[in-house]
Symmetry: D2
Subunit: 292 residues, 4 copies
């Protein structure tokens, strides 16, 4: 891991860690930081009492840190090993390399690109992948390479290999499905565990699968929703990151649901991407722990 200087008032590090619960975890980890000259900026922890599992996010200033940030992983490894922890340390200035997958709808892509231009996400976007050419002009407007990979049923396998190749060549860490209308195979999703973010246009687990607005319209619900979640090999079953809703009434047509839902989709996906890019999410089985 190579640290690059961060923007802002100073460089900092973020540790995300989860392990079986035991006494002394916070004390020993905060001491690890303190004795190396780090000043904790933010610390939040959570204990899943049922599963007796511990979750932690802590960020600290590297301004007076006495070891090089690049040595942090090696220095922390023995402690993590003792705790039996899953963990990662991220340094500010190292943005998450993110690929956006899209089809024809522009609203989620447009929202992410606009917010990205305002600096709302801690990401880089080296490429956009689509199974249709429609959104190329939008990508070009932002100067981002746009790759069309058509996906047809018989050759889906080949298409996915090509997509994976593109992502690997670009050093992609995280993939955002910004209303990408194809289901990824387990072969694909297992390669990016906890690193593919989808937006589903319903309040999951209501209206799993296709045409959720039509399903909602027919059922006569009074509220519709959108759900952003990590993609696993079970359709619409991955850990939920963020959800939101909007009221509807009998006066709303199916088109009104689509229109109102668009606003939900782009806001919910943007919030999920922001949380992910700031390393605020740990996965806990089928759930997420969000340090917000």
């Amino acid at each position: 891991m190579t640290a690059t200087p961060s923007e802002g008032p100073g460089r900092k590090a973020v540790l995300l860690l989860t392990c079986p619960d035991r006494a002394g975890l916070v004390a020993r980890i905060s001491h690890f930081i303190y004795e190396r000259g780090g000043n904790i900026l933010d610390l939040e922890e959570h204990v899943d009492v049922e599963e007796r599992h511990f979750f932690l996010r802590v960020s600290w200033s590297l301004e007076r840190f006495t070891i090089p940030a690049t040595d942090l992983d090696v220095a922390f490894a023995p402690l993590a090993s003792e705790f039996g922890a899953f963990w990662k340390i991220r340094l500010s200035g190292r943005r998450v390399r993110t690929a956006l997958f899209v089809s024809k709808y522009d609203h989620c892509l447009r929202e992410i690109l606009w917010r990205h231009s305002l600096g709302e996400f801690d990401i880089e976007i080296p490429l956009i992948v689509s199974n249709h050419p429609d959104l190329r002009p939008l990508a070009e407007q932002h100067g981002i390479p746009f790759h069309v990979v058509p996906v047809s049923a018989p050759e889906k396998h080949e298409a996915e290999l090509l997509q994976i190749g593109l992502c690997e060549a670009a050093g992609i860490d995280t993939i955002v499905l910004a209303r990408y209308m194809q289901v990824l195979s387990p072969r694909f999703t297992e390669r990016y565990p906890g690193r593919i973010i989808n937006i589903h246009h319903s309040f999951l687990p209501a209206f799993v699968g296709g045409n959720p607005y039509r399903q909602a319209y027919r059922r006569g619900v009074k509220i519709i929703g959108a759900t952003s979640h990590y993609v696993t090999d079970e359709l619409d079953e991955g850990p939920i990151i963020e959800q939101d809703i909007i009221r509807i009434s009998h006066r709303d047509t199916l088109d009104d649901l689509v229109r109102k839902g668009r606003d939900l989709e782009r806001l919910v996906l943007a919030r999920a991407l922001r949380l992910h890019s700031e390393h605020r999410i740990l996965i806990n089985g089928r759930k997420t722990v969000i340090f917000d």
Copy 2:
């Protein structure tokens, strides 16, 4: 139908009507009221464009009405018949006779009784029916007859006959299941079409059936909900009247979900009962039209 004087500034009538759409419906119905000296206080209509169906709620003052309110049904019948309409006229001062069915949880019952004491509903409550004795003191505090009808699997049929008998003897129009923990048989529900209101403690159609909070907790949703709906012979599938939600997080235990959900349940059920008691709801297949 016997009209009794209403409280408030004056007596009024409400017409709820639905029929196939055609030109002139509003003109002819509003003319019917106008030519008899009625002043329209509130009129809302809706056209289901897909089904080409018309829905109307209109209320008017009877202060200078030139025919007795008790003759209204007879006077309006020819017009309704011409339109092929399903309709009803309700006079202020005639409160909806409502039975409350409960089990052990007190929060919905308590909420309804308190609001009722403030005059929030246009109802009378001649009886409360329960399969457990626990809530008797609360009923007695409000001076409402409380009937315990135990429900055991083999004798469910007998229990329902007894419940129906109690309701019929009391001239019950509407039944509110205020966290009543038994499923009613089709024999029961078909006797009160569009007149049994249930509260389900999830955001339907998510988490149909038993233990919805546990289901929500296990799925890791970020929002929980409650749904009030009319009861049909399909469990949790009746027309939805009202829904609402509340945010939760990974910090919330199952007990927290139950606690937060209680607030939703009682508010959502109370809103649904208010809408029903003010004759603001028409059923449109599996959906509702709410004139709010």
Copy 3:
């Protein structure tokens, strides 16, 4: 008024009307439409009981209308005059000519232009006016003339004359202040009564005037808001069209408030513009009646 054919299933008309309340208003107006072959698609009325004032919005199909749509105003005038009504009839296909006023922030402008491209508003945008050149590229991308009118304190009068000239030349009906950072003089606002829409970045009447996010941050509120209202000659005191809010916490910095508020501003302004462009708003003194 020249009618042009509307998109969609057929041409229609919308009447917005307000007058002192009296018996027979709905009957006589709906009869006016019915006897000329119109089929009412949507009718909503409201009576302000305190002020004894009547408000109506009714839309109807012109498909089998027996008089030319262009004769509607003349045909309806006698009835309106009898009622002492303020009223207007709008025909579908005649989009509201709307000018957008902006300064440097792009989020509201971008939102309106994107939604406009999706057909969410019933408007045309013949020009964008700004006191800064920054947003010219965005305007040009959408092919909309962009006029820079610098506003300096001593020559504000001249600047407003120029702005008015531009609007009149373009036949502008409605002006949207999409985070336009100048206060308009009464001379300007009185020329467009009920036709200038502003977005204020607070939950009015909290935090009137400048820097509302800073005011909110200092006060330590737990919720921030945005308000869209018609502009009158009293700053931030015009009739409110739409408001919405978002939760904040002690963790949110002033920058976070600005970021979260941006989402509110653009959504609230867009909803207000949509309501206005569909002729769903009547002004009632310092308030609005919204037929939604």
Copy 4:
């Protein structure tokens, strides 16, 4: 401070602390707990970057604690003194002694008493004080002493002395103004800094002072709110604990605002009391830090 055994799975302690920010605070405090055998259950910290101030809430299990809980204050004092901290340690099982002040409205009192009976608050309620006798039956139903202290303008001073006397005799820590309709004098409020909780029936700082629903109705807002805050000697200006809102429309009368607002008031006040009773609030000047 005398510790009593807590209900639940085991005894625990909560530390609330605020001091100027410096390196090592979390490390040293968590070490203090760890080296005495405490297992941290929950830790949340916050740094006010502008004011360079540190805020912490940490709770830990006392099951294997090696010093008596009653010695905790003495043991922690030197560390707190070194940090220049304002702090308090609370032991589970020691409920907050809370007085409820009411006038004639029952909804907030009823809500608190009901939730209290369900165990939602970590409080005891040794007395209820009112300037009117109306709510005595409700208090008696819950077996809580009810004191009527009439408050008239000329003898307000005497009334407050009597109220203070009642509170002191009962060892009251916290006072909840549950729609108590009198303004407390600075003499009173300064005696309970950060320990008097009020509910104001508006979205503060909008509609400060009397009749906020009437003010909201006249202004034509589209959303109303309620605010719970600590009472200081400036009316409606104390640190805000919790706020919430509900949508209204032109159809809502002033009575509807009062009715809808009631639901907000009781929920918002209940949430604030719960946060306070669980020692989740630190005051930061005019603001609060809420560890939720």
